[in-house]
Each structure stands twice: as C-alpha cells, then as structure tokens.
C-alpha cells in the first residue's frame, strides 16, 4: 500500500509537468496567498532589450508647455533661472515657454525674473481672470487685460482646464467653451498674432468611475479632484465638441490644443479636428504615456501632422525628464518607463524613432512658425470695438 502510494506520487511528479496539472496539488491551497496592494507593486522588468540614452536633442528644442517659476510658484519653490538654463543647455533645450504667467504684477514678476534676463531662453504666456465672468463687458475686460499682458511681454494666452468643467456663472450655469461672450478674447489673440494654448477636458479615464476598472486608478486616488465623473459634469465629448465649434468660429486665431488635443487615447478623433481646423496645432505635454503605448499609431500621426505638432512636457525641467522625452521621440527602444511612471497608468512605452525631418519640425520649426505670427499691439488700433 505504502509503496504503491509513494510510487503514484512519484509517477505524478515525474510524469506530469506541474505546469500542466491545472491546479496546484492539495495542501498548496491551504497555503496563505500573499496579498499586496496595487500601490506597493513595483515590478522589475525581466526584458533584455536595447537601451539608447539620448543625452542631447538632435535639434534645438522649444518646450512650449512648461510651468517653471511661473506666476503661481512661491519664491521658495523657484529654481534659480541660471540653473534652469544650465539644464536646458545640457539637453539642447533652446527655449522654455512658461504658460501660467497670470496677469498684472504677477506676470510682471515672471517677465522680470525669467524673460528679461534670458530673452532667447524663456517666453511667458498670460491667462484669463474669471472673477468678473458675469460682467456684461467681461470679454472687453479680458481684451484689455491681454493687451496689457502683451505690452508687458506676454506672447500667448493659456487657458486652463477649469474652462468647460468648472468655470460657472453666478447662477451656477457652467460656462460653455463656445460661449459667444468669449469671442472678443479669441479674436483679440488673432489680431495680436498670439497663440491660445488651451486645455479642454482631461484623460478619458477621468470621466469614468473611480473603481478597480479605471486604468488611471492610482492617479485619481492621489488627485481625487481630477475626477469628472458624475451628473454635474458634461461628457468629455460634448465639451470637446463645444471647443471644436469655438475653433471653427475663429479661423484667424491660432490654437495650440494642449495634451494632444486632450484626446491622445483617440488619435482618429484628434486627426479629424486637425483636418477640419487649419488654425489648430497640438502639443504633447504629459501625454508621452498615452502616445508611447501606441507607438505605431502615434508615429503615423506624427508623420501625417508633422507641421502641426509642438514639443511640450508640462514637467519640471531637469535633464532626466528631457532625456526621457528625447528617447521616446528619437529611438526605437521598447518597454521603458514614461516620465512619471506609474502615476498615469501601469503600462510601459515604446520609442517612435522619428525621422530627422519630423524631429526638426516638432522640436523647434513649428513653434518658431507660430511665434513668428506675432503682430503685437501696433496693428490693433481700429480693430478694437
């Protein structure tokens, strides 16, 4: 009996690869399974794939989406400008555009601290002040504020994502992205020849319930106010459609639609927006993760719209950050971390291996073309209403 049982056990062990048995042998089931939290899971990749570090961009870069030392940053958090310039030099970053420059004195502080000492290295944009939205002449107030900002040195207008999701009239009514009340603002930017860098809606996952099926679960847990799921919010698509109507209504204004038109998960949709609106360009700040997980589709997008894509990062400037973006754009490396991994989702990215011609346009030519449209205040007289 005993011998027979031992032989059976032995025969089992030997004859069948354990992998094939389907279920673990009895006894294993009683063994306590280990449990770990998602946030603690830090898997180390076992892949042996080539690593090509890119230390300097192949062509000079204009980072059109940054917030370094912006108008909202307290003095304690600012990086000495010379230090920023040194980091830029190390990676061949020619210029950084500081989008969040606010207006008035706060804007002036950024101009004085960053732009004046380094006019070729930094540029600053102004923003809208929603405080007086209910005023009948809100549009005109903003036109005057923008004119003042341009006089101080601002070279573009940044619109943040509260627009369309959270900016409301006193009545509680949400301000629609295509509200005609704002038309004078967009027209004024067209007249001044300054681009409008606009962030409208957010990743698609932010419009889904924050549960175990949300691919940006960890990011939303860390930032619960980034969740736009619920009856108080319009759908992502309806907000984007309002934006698109606004784009179409102001063909003489250049719009830089940030974060890849705010729908990098759906490049077919973004392509359609670009096809219908020649006045629109896109930028890819903080969307390396989305584009990098669909490298073939993204590469086709870059080739097709190579004249309308701008380099942007939306991240604190430092060498590692820029080099991560350069590796993604310039190499064919596989399965590496996007900048900020794993906050935006637990996947890895793949390089796009863009050709030189495309790189040069994306790195600086396209941005130069946009900024060369600048006309300034001199030509606006008479156009003002």
């Amino acid at each position: 009996m005993r011998r027979a049982a031992a032989l059976i056990a032995l025969a089992l062990l030997i004859a069948f690869p354990v992998t094939l048995l389907g279920q673990a042998p009895k006894g294993r089931e009683t063994q306590e399974k280990k449990s770990i939290l998602l946030k603690d899971f830090k898997p180390q990749s076992m892949l042996h794939v080539p690593v090509h570090n890119v230390y300097r961009a192949r062509f000079p870069v204009i980072d059109v989406h940054n917030h370094v030392n912006d108008a909202r940053s307290p003095a304690s958090e600012r990086i000495p400008p010379a230090k920023v310039v040194e980091m830029m030099d190390n990676c061949n970053i020619q210029k950084i555009v500081i989008l969040t420059g606010k207006w008035g004195d706060q804007l002036q502080r950024v101009v004085d601290e960053m732009v004046k000492p380094y006019p070729d290295r930094f540029m600053v944009f102004t923003q809208l002040d929603w405080t007086n939205l209910d005023a009948p002449d809100f549009g005109q107030q903003m036109v005057r504020q923008i004119d003042d900002a341009v006089a101080r040195g601002a070279r573009g207008l940044k619109v943040t994502k509260e627009f369309g999701l959270q900016v409301r009239y006193k009545s509680g009514k949400l301000l629609s992205v295509d509200d005609p009340k704002l038309d004078p603002i967009w027209d004024e930017c067209g007249r001044l020849g300054i681009p409008v860098s606009i962030h409208v809606t957010d990743p698609e996952a932010f419009f889904h319930p924050l549960d175990n099926t949300n691919e940006r679960f960890e990011e939303l847990i860390d930032n619960p106010d980034w969740l736009f799921y619920g009856p108080q919010f319009p759908s992502k698509e309806s907000i984007l459609e309002a934006r698109n109507r606004m784009f179409a209504r102001h063909p003489n204004t250049t719009f830089i639609s940030l974060h890849v038109g705010n729908w990098p998960e759906n490049l077919d949709y973004v392509s359609d927006v670009l096809n219908r609106n020649p006045n629109v360009l896109v930028e890819f700040g903080a969307r390396e993760a989305e584009l990098g997980r669909q490298p073939r589709r993204a590469r086709r997008f870059f080739l097709e719209y190579q004249d309308r894509i701008l380099f942007g990062t939306d991240a604190t400037p430092n060498e590692d950050m820029y080099r991560n973006y350069l590796r993604w754009l310039e190499t064919a490396d596989e399965y590496f971390d996007y900048w900020g991994y794993p906050e935006q989702g637990r996947w890895k990215i793949y390089g796009m291996d863009l050709p030189d011609e495309v790189l040069e346009k994306v790195y600086h030519r396209n941005a130069e073309k946009v900024f060369s449209q600048f006309k300034g205040l001199t030509v606006k007289q008479g156009g003002s209403q």
């Binding site: 011998r3 027979a4 059976i8 032995l10 025969a11 062990l13 030997i14 004859a15 690869p17 992998t19 094939l20 389907g22 673990a24 042998p25 294993r28 770990i36 939290l37 998602l38 946030k39 603690d40 899971f41 898997p43 076992m46 042996h48 794939v49 917030h67 108008a71 909202r72 969040t100 923003q127 002040d129 405080t131 943040t160 994502k161 509260e162 959270q166 409301r168 009239y169 962030h199 990743p203 924050l210 099926t213 679960f217 847990i221 619960p224 106010d225 998960e265 949709y269 700040g285 903080a286 669909q294 490298p295 073939r296 939306d314 596989e334 399965y335 900048w339 900020g340 906050e343 996947w347």
Partner: protein
C-alpha cells in the same frame, strides 16, 4: 516629478478666483491626497483600456497551421485504483478538437505529453491513427526508472519502440533540471547534461525525430515572490512554479547545461519550447541559435513576452524564420482554466494569429480580466506572408517529416 508642476491644467487664475465662482477644484495644486486612501489589492485591479486603436480580428490563419505544442492527452493516475499503474487522461475527444481545428485552419496538432508504452499506443490509436495527419503524438521518458540497471539503453530502446508505434518525437518537460533528483524525488537534482541520457538523445537523432524540450522557466520564476516580481500574481497562484533559492541552479546554468547537450548531439534536432525558454532575453536565444544549428524554437505561451518587445521580436523572426515554429501550449478546458493564456479554443488561436499577422497595438495576450503572466499588453508583429507560411507550417512540416 513634482505633482504640482505636473499638473498642467490647474492654473493660477483658478486659485485667484476660486472664491468667486469656480468650484474648489484647484486644491490638487496644494493638497497632498495620501496615496492608498482607498487601498486596492493588486488582484482586484482590472483596468480597462481607454485607447481607441485598430482591432483587426483574424479568425482564420493565413496559412494552414501545425501547432507543435499542445496537451490534449497526458499521463494521469488511475483514480481510486490500488496500483502504481499510470494511465493516459484524454482531455478532449478528437471530434471536439477537429471542430476547432477546422474553424481555425489548423492542419495538425502535436500532443507532446503522449506518455509511453501502452498508454502512448492507446493515444496514438485514438487520435493519430484515427485521423492521420491531423494529430501527432510524442513520447516521454520514464524518469522513474532512472536508477534501474541499464536505464540508458532501456530508454533508448523504448524510444525506438515508440517510434515504430508511430510516435513523432520525444518530449522533455522541465522535470529535467528542476524536479528530477538522483533518488527520483530525493537527493541532488539530476543534471541536464547527465551522460546517462546520451543514448536517449542519440537515438532521436538516428531516428530523425525531434526532441521538444522545455528547460528552465521565465526569469522571474527564479526571483523571490515579492512586490518587485513582475510575475508576482502568477507565482502567487502557482507557488510551485517558483525556483527561487533552495538548491535550484540559476536560469542561466540550466540553459548552459542544455547547450552542452546540444553541442554533444549535433545530429539530434532540439525544438526548444517557449522560445528557447528565455523569451525575455532574445539576444541570448539568438546567440544559442547561432551556436547550435540543431536548435529551433516554438512560441508556446510566450507571445506575452514577445509581444511586449515587438520590434526585437520581429527582428528575431526575420533572422530565424526557418527555425521558428508555431506552438501554443494549449490545454483544453477545464484543465486549461488555471492558465488562461493556454485554454484551447477559438479565442486562443485568434490571439496568436492577431499577434503574428497584424500590427495591432496594446491588446491582451490571454482572454482573462487580468493578464495572467504579467500586467502588460502586447503588440502585433505584422509578419510578411513568406515568414508566416514558414512559421505556421513549413518549418514544422520539415521537422516532423510531414510531407505534403
């Protein structure tokens, strides 16, 4: 990266005017919501992809397929019988298999775990003899006789007998190298390049039948089962797959011992299962392929590994297009359910075909809510027709002498 800086959207204007009419949404810029406020167990995380990318279904392979790595029959204990006899267990009837095969353009399925002796002969009768060219049965060594006198010659003779009975090749499971010990279940592990096995390798060469050999396992199986292990969940579900610590040789030592066997038996063809059992390290597999012309590989249960490095994988396919064979490691339900990447059926083959034929991006390598071998998604290789035909069919037809 500083989260505040990374926050592209929350502008300074908002902070300035929040009190007026903007809901207090800008707090993300200043508050530090603690991570894990809502702790989620890893096992519960089932993220749905938000990507809108092309989804090309491939219900039918471009060329007829020979699946060189399946398990629809294997050795099993004769339940309840007071005997040491082992019997074959048939996991699916030929008719059920043929229905899927016909739908999926599968010409032949090779059952590697065909056992030996009478059980093997019964299996051959039931599948291969009843449906020539549709099924092929391999034989296996009788490791439990390792310490019998004259085992070496006995095993070689057994393989010759199996060949005469119709066996198409010899299957070696990872038992060799990882489970089989000098006292069968006790003592030191038997070395892969043990001289006692030489006659077994030699006779396969003389008979011109391939050895389908599984040596070692994924690299992650040799690391601790902890939060840094990329196959944590798989190992957690199958703790007996861990070869970390104890007296297990390293992954590389196992492979090198295997390589010495290849070098010593140049006339024997070794179809090295699971992409040479180091799909994570294609440069090493390529080096082995270059060193050993008698080595080929198959894909079973490793499209997860290949598909997360599609460029490196495609280069590998281009370079070794005459030495790569289609295999799935398929196991019919319900036995296959514990390994979702291997459940025999339409879905499994459609995933393999999609992986090989399309350039689709970011899709699941297994039909499961959580990718069972690691939390990543894969990318198709978009192989050209010429390579597809070789991988689907021609290379295996040559190896298995399946003329026509």
């Amino acid at each position: 990266m500083n989260r505040r800086q990374w926050l592209g959207g929350v502008g300074a204007s908002l902070v300035a005017s929040r009190s007026a009419r903007v809901r207090a949404s800008g707090d993300a810029a200043t508050s530090d919501a603690p991570a894990g406020k809502m702790p989620l167990d890893l096992s519960d995380y089932q993220p749905k992809s938000m990507l809108h990318v092309a989804e090309n279904k491939v219900p039918h392979s471009r060329y007829p397929v020979i699946d060189v790595h399946t398990h629809f029959a294997w050795l099993s204990r004769n339940e309840g019988a007071n005997t040491d006899e082992v019997r074959m267990q048939f996991l699916a009837e030929p008719k059920a298999l043929l229905e899927v095969m016909d739908r999926k353009n599968i010409q032949t399925m090779v059952n590697l775990t065909g056992g030996y002796g009478a059980g093997m002969e019964e299996t051959i009768q039931k599948y291969q003899a009843a449906h020539p060219k549709r099924f092929l049965i391999f034989t296996e060594p009788q490791w439990h006789r390792l310490n019998d006198p004259n085992y070496s010659q006995f095993q070689a003779d057994e393989i010759e007998r199996a060949r005469k009975a119709g066996a198409g090749g010899l299957k070696i499971t990872k038992t060799l190298g990882l489970y089989l010990r000098e006292g069968i279940t006790t003592g030191p592990l038997v070395k892969i390049d043990d001289r006692r096995l030489d006659p077994m390798w030699e006779v396969c060469g003389a008979l011109k039948i391939p050895v389908s050999i599984h040596i070692s396992d994924p690299e992650a199986f040799f690391l601790a089962i902890d939060r840094f292990n990329e196959r944590f969940e798989e190992l957690n579900n199958h703790p007996d797959w861990s070869f970390h610590g104890k007296d297990f040789p390293s992954n590389r030592e196992l492979q090198e011992a295997r390589n010495r066997v290849y070098a010593r038996h140049p006339k024997t063809h070794f179809n090295t299962l699971h992409v040479g059992n180091d799909a994570e390290d294609l440069p090493y597999v390529a080096e082995c392929m270059d060193r050993f012309p008698n080595m080929s590989v198959e894909l079973g249960a490793r499209i997860g590994e290949l598909g997360r490095q599609p460029r490196a994988a495609r280069k590998f396919f281009e370079k070794y297009q005459d030495r790569i064979m289609f295999g799935t490691d398929a196991v019919p339900s319900p036995q296959g359910l514990a390994t979702p990447q291997q459940i025999f059926g339409d879905e499994l083959y459609e995933i393999y075909y999609r992986f090989l034929e399309t350039e689709d991006e970011y899709f699941d390598y297994a039909p499961a809510p959580v990718p069972p071998q690691g939390r990543w998604r894969i990318y198709g290789l978009g192989l050209p027709d010429e390579i597809l035909r070789k991988v689907y069919h021609d290379n295996a037809a040559r190896m298995l002498s399946l003329a026509g």
